[in-house]
């Protein structure tokens, strides 16, 4: 189980390869990449700054991954989340999960993303045409997380 918070970009393909290789029990790898879009809530976005709570962030992500491991029969998982200044098309987050069968890998990967969105202490501040603004939490993200209760 790997959790990293970093300013540098990541190589999603290399991370997935590292997670899956040399383990012949693995039949499924589900993964997710989140990217910066150039538009949000109807405003064009030139870039964003991702702030986080060092120390708590890593603990929160590790706890989410542990919970996924408790709920599903998964072999490995990697979560990488970037902080700092990002621009449209930049990678924000990678979540990848391995398991024997695809159902577990898909569920655990989506669960980790839904919980990360509502539990891990990250905050986005966008640069828009109308100035800088803190992104508001979305009700749809709370709903997505509640599906797993």
């Amino acid at each position: 189980m790997t959790v990293r918070v970093q300013t540098e970009d990541f190589d999603a393909g290399a991370e997935i390869l590292r997670l899956r290789q040399n383990d012949p029990r693995i039949g499924a790898v589900a993964s997710f990449i989140g990217l910066v879009r150039d538009i949000n809530e109807g405003e064009s976005v030139a870039g964003m700054t991702l702030e986080h709570y060092p120390g708590m962030t890593e603990k929160a992500l590790a706890a989410i991954v542990e919970e996924a491991k408790r709920r599903w029969d998964i072999y490995g998982a990697v979560v990488i989340h970037r902080v700092g200044l990002l621009k449209p098309t930049d990678q924000i987050v990678l979540v990848a999960v391995t398991s024997a069968h695809r159902g577990e890998a898909f569920a655990a990967c989506e669960f980790i993303m839904d919980y990360l969105k509502t539990q891990a202490p990250f905050w986005k501040k966008e640069e828009t045409g109308a100035g800088a603004r803190w992104v508001d939490a979305r009700e749809s993200d709370d709903q997505a997380a509640r599906r797993w209760e």
Binding site: E51, M56, V93, P121, W134, V135
Partner: protein, 84 residues
């Protein structure tokens, strides 16, 4: 002493990222500490008003209003998270 941390919009509107304070007499919970900070008035009263969706973590774990506080704790205040 307890360490208070402020993140994101709260850090900006309150004007500081952190401070060290003596746990005030009679303050034993997250709710009590929040009420005490509110009494500073101005941005404190406004940003920490009960209607605001402020989240609190104690020693880097999500806390509830009734979570107990002790000397040496790290208490963080922040808006709902928006990562991912």
């Amino acid at each position: 002493m307890v360490t208070l941390l402020y993140f994101a919009r709260l850090r900006e509107t309150l004007g500081l990222p952190s401070e060290e304070v003596e746990l005030p007499a009679g303050v034993a919970t997250v709710e009590g500490l929040t009420e005490w900070l509110r009494r500073r008035g101005g941005a404190w009263a406004e940003e920490l008003a009960p209607v605001k969706p402020v989240r609190v973590a104690v020693n880097q774990e999500m806390a509830a209003p009734q979570t107990a506080l002790a000397d040496g704790d790290e208490v963080a205040f922040f808006p709902p998270v928006t990562g991912g």
